[in-house]
């Protein structure tokens, strides 16, 4: 008995929803385990503001003039930005797919183009991981797998935005990526924010962030 396309799509949407639940649940477990650790109260009198440090850490500290590693690796930085913009676009496309909503033609390009750019950026970073010796030495199997899953998600997301026939493949790629998300390095979607906040608070409290020129004493 042939399985109808609508059945396949329905099954894939369910798979994506299950994977989304798995990803969300996994990230929640990570968050709870991290938060279960007791934050020791700090007793040294602060020299600055943790809040201002956090704001600085999420803003100016990431920009090329403040961060040497960005200045020295502008192409990788640009590819990273494109990749993450692409993820946002593809995620929006996924939401529309799950809601069975066809994007308006203008929005197709608004979703498809960033997703395609993100896919190419992701491929570029994949290639860098293979051919750049220090990065290759640093990498684990998870790095390649995560990159491959994201590249597929973005590429097929771009395809789906421009051509609905890509939808089953796009949903399949999304489900795979979401299943992997909480157990691989893609969980940095949560831990980036936790780490950056801790980092900003640390340096903010010590009066290092934001940098002060001139009178320190």
């Amino acid at each position: 008995m042939a399985v109808s396309e609508s059945t396949v799509l329905a099954a894939l949407r369910i798979a994506v929803l299950v994977a989304l639940g798995w990803a969300a649940g996994g990230l929640l477990v990570h968050l709870l385990f991290a938060r279960l650790k007791t934050a020791r109260p700090l007793h040294a009198p602060p020299a600055g503001s943790p809040r201002r440090g956090i704001l600085y850490a999420f803003g100016p500290a990431l920009l090329p003039w403040a961060k040497e590693s960005v200045r020295n690796h502008l192409p990788s930085y640009a590819l990273g930005i494109l990749l993450h913009l692409g993820v946002a676009a593809a995620a929006l496309g996924l939401a529309l797919s799950l809601l069975r909503t066809e994007p308006a033609p203008a929005l197709r390009w608004g979703l498809g183009f960033p997703a395609a750019a993100g896919a190419l950026a992701s491929l570029g970073l994949f290639a860098k991981r293979i051919f750049h010796k220090p990065l290759h030495a640093l990498s684990t199997a998870d790095d390649y797998l995560s990159n491959a899953l994201v590249t597929l998600f973005l590429g097929l997301g771009a395809g789906r935005a421009l051509d609905p026939s890509y939808e089953p493949w796009f949903l399949g790629a999304a489900a795979l990526m979401l299943f992997h998300l909480p157990v691989g390095k893609l969980r940095h979607c949560l831990f980036f924010f936790l780490s950056r906040a801790g980092f900003g608070a640390f340096f903010g409290r010590r009066g290092v962030f934001p940098p002060r020129k001139g009178d320190h004493a």
Binding site: V29, R40, A44, P134, T140, H188, S195, F199
Partner: protein
């Protein structure tokens, strides 16, 4: 002969394998109880932020060039993310990802081989300088994790013995060089005589154990032991400023090498010694002499180790010098210093301590030919001597090699004098000066100020009736 990256200094090809030292033997003798104890310590010290740091690395590699070890030896083992991964991979064995995917996500068992890798990463290739953190895409406080790893190694009896001795000296004798009290007092007395001769003031004093003084000055044992004129410089400045100050015969050592061993217990004990002395003398302010780690340990870590505020304000001596200059309590003429001066920023004072501008203001007010290194301030490169490296003979070659980045920074400034407010950095810079033939003199900020002092009253004062 296969090169083992975990050996302290892999010998050149054709050379015999180095003798296994005490540390190697201890690592080889570890049993499960030791490993469990070490991991329990490590995990017990993780707060929410540290737990996040262990999970957050995306292995982007952008941290690599921020590290002076990697810059001078571009091996994977020197990439900060790799060092973090060495520690995280064992610590994450019990996480969801570790349980499900194991080696796919880089998780490994915490066994003797992992411990050797921890030793190599945390002690052999890191000064805990934190430059990597500023350049980390995620913002992982890598030194916090590696310091915690050092603490775990210590719990397993694996603190490098030459570093452990320094900490034990502080605990046993009150100073890290085990200088007997009488020897210290004799040095102070001699310096006091020098102070009187230099100032022409027979009443000039280096007060010792003066109860109720405003300022308690703490110093590095290096000063009374090897460089007493550095202490004399402080005395001249305080005398000229008319400061109400004292040193302590018991709690004069500002160093706290437990910051490097990651032992909160030892760190707290050493910090407590200093504080109890300050309270006994009823001083109003503790001035930390020029020392990066000493400042960071006392100012930032001490209250956390002791789990209470100090209750006595604590400043870097640089902040006092700036105050004296601003208030015209001391006058200086930098024309006496006919040399170009550059400034090395000690990591623990600047990046981790937040004392960034006073040393610059001092140099500006001296009116000397001051040229900054590039980069500087919180983005400075470590001199290579931090993290206790100066006390660890096992990694001496790597320390000097990694200092090559700082050497080139110094050379690029064309300076004849390198000013740095840290005695450990001074030692490392002296080594770099020899190794890289920089032809510079290394001085503290206080020494420069003392050299440039213009006495308020050039005539000898009348003796007090």
């Amino acid at each position: 002969m296969p090169e083992d990256p975990h050996l302290p200094d892999a010998p050149p090809e054709g050379m015999p394998e180095p003798e296994r030292d005490e540390l190697d033997l201890r690592m080889a003798a570890l049993v499960d109880d030791d490993l469990n104890r070490g991991m329990a310590f490590f995990r017990g010290r993780l707060g929410p932020a540290e737990s996040a740091y262990l999970q957050a690395c995306v292995r982007c590699g952008l941290c690599a060039e921020s590290c002076h070890y990697f810059r001078t030896a571009p091996e994977a083992e020197n990439i900060p993310g790799h060092k973090l991964g060495i520690v995280a991979s064992a610590a994450r064995a019990r996480t969801l990802a570790g349980a499900m995917l194991g080696s796919l996500v880089g998780v490994r068992d915490f066994d003797r081989e992992a411990v050797r890798a921890w030793m190599d990463a945390a002690y052999g290739r890191c000064t805990l300088c934190g430059r990597c953190s500023l350049n980390c895409t995620i913002g992982i406080n890598i030194p916090a994790i590696l310091r915690n790893a050092r603490g775990a190694l210590g719990v397993m009896g694996l603190t490098p013995p030459d570093l452990a001795v320094v900490v034990q000296s502080s605990l046993d004798t009150g100073n890290n060089m085990a200088i007997p009290t009488q020897e210290f007092l004799d040095t102070v007395q001699w310096l006091e005589e020098e102070l009187q001769a230099e100032t022409g003031d027979a009443t000039a004093r280096i007060p010792v154990d003066k109860v109720g003084a405003r300022v308690l000055l703490t110093i590095n044992p290096r000063e009374p032991k090897f460089y007493p004129l550095s202490l004399l410089a402080s005395a001249r400045v305080f005398h000229e400023a008319g400061e109400d100050w004292t040193v302590s015969s018991r709690g004069w050592d500002l160093t706290n090498y437990a910051l490097f061993t990651g032992s909160p217990k030892d760190g707290g004990a050493i910090a407590r010694n200093l504080l109890e002395e300050a309270r006994a003398l009823d001083v109003k302010l503790i001035a930390m002499g020029e020392c990066g780690h000493g400042y960071a340990a006392a100012r930032w870590e001490g209250p956390e180790w002791l789990q209470r505020p100090h209750g006595i304000p604590l400043v870097s001596v640089l902040e006092l010098l700036v105050q004296y200059l601003r208030e015209d309590r001391i006058r200086v003429d930098g024309r006496r210093i006919a040399a170009r001066i550059t400034l090395h920023d000690p990591c623990n004072l600047v990046r981790h301590g937040g004392v960034v501008e006073p040393q610059r203001e001092i140099l500006r007010r001296l009116g000397v030919d001051f040229v900054e290194m590039t980069p500087n301030r919180e983005h400075n490169f470590c001199c290579g001597g931090g993290g206790g490296q100066l006390s660890i003979g096992r990694y001496r070659n790597r320390r000097v090699a990694a200092g090559g980045v700082k050497a080139e920074q110094i050379r690029a400034t064309g300076a004849q004098i390198v000013a740095t407010p840290c005695h450990n950095c001074q030692d490392q810079l002296a080594d770099l000066n020899r190794e890289y033939q920089l032809g510079v003199t290394v001085q503290s900020l206080t020494e420069l100020v003392a050299e440039a002092l213009v006495p308020h009253d050039p005539t000898p004062s009348e003796p007090t009736p």
